[in-house]
């Protein structure tokens, strides 16, 4: 494989930013009219209907676990179990992802528990061109 093809890993979703000279982060789009926060770029604000008011904003790497489910049956080829988690980030924005570094046991996971966002390889998944990806995950806050 040539140097050119050994490309940097790609972000799993467009709103995960991987700056060349800084730490990864999740980017929100915040409405300057009503302060609603979205993931991903969009034309207008679906809360207040304003157009052209969305501005990129760096979201926090810390938040609280809103809810979770422990998934034991998924599509073929998807390793189970995993914890599907919905996290409210401090300062705004709600993100869904896997909660890792915790036992997949409902007794061990508390609603509202503080979590932090971590960035790592996307479980070894590669696209058809062989590209690697970086994803975000949640883990109990240290």
């Amino acid at each position: 494989m040539s140097e050119e093809n050994a490309a940097r890993p790609l972000p799993v979703v467009p709103y995960l930013k991987l700056p060349e000279d800084g730490d990864p982060y999740i980017e929100g789009q915040k409405c300057s009219e009503c302060s609603a926060i979205y993931l991903g770029e969009r034309g207008g604000c679906s809360k207040c209907g304003a157009r052209g008011t969305l501005q990129a904003t760096k979201l926090s790497n810390r938040g609280k676990l809103h809810v979770f489910s422990i998934v034991h049956r998924s599509f073929p080829g998807i390793e189970v179990p995993y914890v599907s988690a919905i996290v409210d980030l401090d300062g705004g924005g709600t993100v869904k992802g896997n909660l890792i570094n915790i036992e997949p046991d409902p007794e061990k996971i508390q609603f509202g528990m503080p979590v932090e966002v971590v960035y790592a390889d996307a479980l070894g998944r590669k696209d058809k061109d062989g590209n690697s990806y970086i994803s975000y995950f949640f883990q109990p806050a240290s």
């Binding site: 609603a36 489910s69 034991h72 919905i86 996307a122």
Partner: protein, 381 residues
Amino acid sequence: MTDAYVVGIDMIKFGRFPDRTVPEIGSEAALLALADCGLKIQDMEALYCGNLGQANAMVGQRILQEIGQTGIPVVNCANACATGATAFREGWMSIKAGVYDTVLCVGVEQMGKGLLGGAGGGSGIPKEGLLGSGTMPAVFAEAGQEHASKYGTTFEQFAKVSVKNHHHSTLNPKAMYQIETPLETVMNAEMIAYPNTKLMCSVNVDGSAAAVLCSEKKVRELGLMGRAVKVSASVMTSDPWQERDLVMPDVNSCTRQAAAKAFEMAGVGASDVDLVELHDCFATAEILHYENLSLCGEGEAGHMIDSGDSALGGRCPVNVSGGLLSKGHPLGATGIANIYEVSTHLRGEAGKRQVEGAKVGMTHVIGLGSACAIHVLEKVS
């Protein structure tokens, strides 16, 4: 504005019919509904057809090819799990608007087995199991977990919904299953997405249901008022903006808004409702909708299932058909099938599962994305 009435309504026994076509399955219910009121396809002025799986394949017209190509207008609807109810409501609107006096509404689906949903898609790599889960059991597990977080609702309480609905379906010969599932069986079934076990997930089945709607003038003219059921409210909503929308579909707000409008339109209150068929796509969802539909107070849904209030014989029986959990959930047919169930009780024809003295009933479906449809039906005294 005229009132609209259901004069003929029926459903097929839900099951798995891989060797039949969608129009064949739909035609069977259409003919049953016509037979129920003694009318013919030649009497119908329009057909409203709900089907999701073949939404681009003119299912309504293909049904007419099976039962009579009379040249009437056909509207094909797709609206996720609210598809059947949307078709019914389109028919209702045409009667209310005075455009037609007699219309046919059909909902039909052929499902196959397996998980629905899935996170992400598009380019790159699969997101399922990487960015959480987009499978329906997990999405509705998370919705239910909000209730658990707020009110301490337990796995056992969610499981009791499934015990109840499976019990109800033992009294419904048209349900997919007629099998009792005790609490231990439900809780010990394969865990799909905590807290939803396999027996707490609706059954993917094939099925169809159909209704004939008439204006008041036409019902009288045909002499069909005796078994007619009045549609006293038909309401649809979409999901209003919520801050977690992007990652967590909200089935609550759209249901609450629709219920409030439906009670107002029908001029009844929740305490007047004698039975409800609501969207128990997962056991967790039924708990949410007790409160969303004002069948109990905020935070009281756990008590409602514990106390037996929502069981047959209770204060407000819910899903006496067996619900989506045991009767089955053929997406496009479900919305009309639950109108069939309530209508059958209002007519006093529900046999062993009859809710005694039922005068007012409510049906509710949610198509994730989201579309909520609520109908209030009343016995004609």
